[in-house]
């Protein structure tokens, strides 16, 4: 009986989606997995919030390997899912191939740019948020040396690193910034052991604040930071609660809002093209909550807020690494 109800339910759902009016949205998570406590989890939270508020349902695919990307996109598009949201820069090259084949499906890609009439590209101004946490790092540092652990040596991650470095230098022009990357394969986003080793290496070079922009690898960075009694800075999701008192702040990237917006806007009203989310749009920022409010003093807060306003007003311009592939500060 239950099987029968499920079957009829499925048939009904198919019939509805065939008309195209009430198609379920879908999301494809990147290799870190949807519970990476970071980027993908933020996307997942956005989708869940939409599902709770609207009582709707959505389809999801969690990629296990690079080879599945294109196949996953085609499967969702052919099943009538609309819009299809893709979390992660690595999906851009596959989407370039797939998007023209499904002109009636709207695709939303986060962190990547695909030039097609049915694609909405969402780009976060990571350099702006990283600039602010860089300022906080420099103010919290006693040694004048801060660290950065990135996932891979790619423009997206360099954008974090470059913004961070600019923020650090804005507070302390003589500060030393140690930058390391975890690896060259997708495993680099999920290797906490190596993250911990890199952090230890940076600590031995004098770093006492380390910013991790490396997905699941960052968990190892934050863990080691707590073990060694220094500050860590989380990324993408608010990670302050992971190690209360040791995570200085988190560079939050409102991936959840981007996903939520894509899901809740009627499909034919989704604006395609490239959209930027920076400080002004509340797309990025630094997290202050009950777990780290004691670490951020009022002076620090005041200075960072002033910088935030200045960036929004255009008085401070934070260099974007992706524009020319270089960073003004080392």
């Amino acid at each position: 009986m239950t099987v029968f109800t499920k079957l009829t339910g499925a048939a009904a759902a198919l019939a509805v989606s065939a008309t195209g009016a009430l198609a379920d949205p879908a999301i494809i998570f990147d290799l870190g997995g949807k519970f990476d406590r970071s980027f993908n989890e933020a996307a997942y939270n956005g989708a869940e919030r939409w599902a709770e508020e609207t009582d709707g349902s959505y389809r999801e695919i969690e990629l296990q390997s690079d080879a599945q990307r294109e196949q996953a996109m085609r499967r969702l598009a052919e099943a009538g899912a609309n819009p299809v949201v893709m979390a992660g820069f690595s999906q851009a090259s596959s989407l370039e191939v797939v998007a023209p084949d499904y002109p009636d499906t709207t695709f939303v890609i986060i962190d990547g740019v695909v030039d097609a009439p049915n694609v909405r590209s969402v780009i976060f101004r990571e350099e702006q948020g990283s600039y602010l946490v860089g300022m906080l790092a420099a103010m919290a540092s006693e040694t004048g040396t801060v660290g950065f652990v990135g996932g891979m040596d790619i423009p997206l991650i360099s954008r974090f690193g470059c913004g961070y470095a600019q923020g650090v230098r804005a507070v302390d022009p003589d500060a030393t910034i140690i930058q390391n990357m975890t690896g060259t394969t997708p495993a680099a986003w999920n290797d906490p052991v190596r993250g911990g080793e890199l952090t230890r290496a940076q600590i031995s070079q004098g770093a006492d604040v380390v910013f991790a922009a490396a997905g699941g690898t960052g968990l190892g960075v934050l863990q080691t930071a707590e073990d060694e009694g220094i500050f860590g800075i989380g990324v993408d999701s608010n990670q302050n609660h992971l190690h209360p008192g040791s995570v200085l702040t988190s560079m939050v990237k409102r991936v959840d809002v981007a996903v939520y917006d894509a899901f809740s806007t009627p499909v034919d009203e989704i604006e395609t093209g490239v959209h930027f989310f920076g400080l002004a749009e509340n797309g990025v920022g630094y997290a202050v909550d009950e777990f780290n409010e004691e670490l951020i003093t009022e002076e620090m807060m005041a200075e960072v807020e002033a910088a935030r306003d200045a960036i929004i007003a255009g008085e401070i311009s934070v260099h974007n690494y992706s524009e020319d592939g270089t960073c003004p500060v080392e």
């Binding site: 997995g33 949807k34 519970f35 990476d36 969690e62 040596d153 930058q179 390391n180 990357m181 690896g183 060259t184 495993a187 999920n190 290797d191 906490p192 052991v193 190596r194 911990g196 080793e197 890199l198 230890r200 290496a201 031995s204 699941g216 968990l219 190892g220 863990q223 992971l242």
Partner: protein, 321 residues
């Protein structure tokens, strides 16, 4: 490069070499008894998962270690059952164990914790913390020896010391006891051992189970010592590198220690020196990260010489009818 950098590098090498060393010794026991074990990777992984899970549930890392060792022994028993009792192909059984572990850990983890195959972060008594050896603080001021003792020898998790003590123990058991003589004989000429009235099946099972225990400790160290919880596929090929180290060392315990330390050193170098300037040109990060693997190939292809495995390795023993 000053002393503190060298110590830092060696310190990191020791941490990274320990899981390799334990897994390598596990392979040593198994292969010396004539059972080829390419399931080291799978046993590491399953032990890492169960040790982290048990430690997360009970909050006691020793129970975690116990659970990890038990899980690894179950898999070792499976390998023994397939390749000793049923005389199956040892390579296939090993591959099966690797696949089984990779899949099971994520499925069970997802159903227990719903964290995408991850276990909760371990805290407090749920982890192996670094221990400070006696007099480490006092000796810190002594030039040269002080920093070496304080920073390099002291301040590791207890499992690191267990791993290093296993080397002389393994050597002693294999080369100085009657049990060891029989174990090696089973791997070279099982028929002779059988003639002497010793059970070949019994000896081989014992060896495989010892391998299970050692892999269990290695996996537990990975999940509860080196990091604070299990992450899917966290063994990251270490079981296979241990296998390479085993061949490199030609199935001898002291050489195994050297080989594992070398691989640990290569790994540590890759993460410590990312931005090196050679003659004014900065070496790309990618090259530094690939270096351990390049050197592995070079070493294995060029410097090992002839590695002769135990004679009866890979062939199941059939009593003459």
């Amino acid at each position: 490069m000053d002393l503190s950098t060298v110590i830092l590098l060696l310190d990191s090498s020791v941490r990274l070499a320990t899981p390799l060393l334990l897994a390598c010794l596990a392979g040593l026991f198994s292969e010396r008894a004539g059972i080829i074990d390419i399931g080291l990777e799978g046993k590491l992984l399953i032990a890492a998962f169960f040790s982290a899970s048990a430690a997360a549930y009970t909050g006691n890392v020793w129970l975690g270690l116990l659970a990890g060792v038990a899980a690894s022994m179950v898999f070792a028993g499976l390998h023994g059952l397939a390749s000793i009792t049923f005389r199956g192909n040892q390579l296939i059984s090993g591959v099966a164990i690797n696949f089984l572990a990779a899949g099971m850990t994520v499925v069970i983890g997802e159903s227990w914790f719903a964290l995408g195959g991850r276990t909760p972060q371990l805290e407090g008594a749920g982890r192996f913390h670094n221990i400070t050896l006696p007099f480490a603080e006092a000796a810190q001021g002594v030039p040269f020896i002080g920093p070496i003792y304080h920073d390099l020898i002291s301040g590791h998790s207890i499992l690191v010391y267990v791993g290093f003590l296993m080397v002389p123990l393994t050597w002693w058991v294999l080369f100085r006891t009657r049990f060891g003589l029989r174990l090696r004989a089973v791997g070279e000429n099982p028929a002779a051992v059988d003639t002497a009235g010793v059970s070949v099946v019994g000896m081989r099972f014992t060896a495989v189970l010892i391998a299970g225990v050692l892999c269990g400790i290695a996996g537990a160290y990975l999940a509860t010592g080196l990091s604070a919880g299990f992450v899917k596929d966290m063994s990251a090929g270490r079981g296979f590198i241990a296998l390479a180290a085993l061949i490199f060392s030609k199935w001898r315990p002291w050489y195994a220690l050297m080989a594992c330390l070398l691989f640990g050193l290569l790994d540590a170098t890759g993460s410590l020196f990312q931005n090196i300037q050679v003659a004014g040109i900065s070496v790309p990060v990618q090259f530094m990260q690939a270096l351990p693997y390049i050197l592995t190939v070079v070493i294995l292809a060029g410097f090992v010489g002839k590695a002769i495995p135990p004679k009866a390795g890979g062939t199941p023993y059939v009593k003459e009818q």
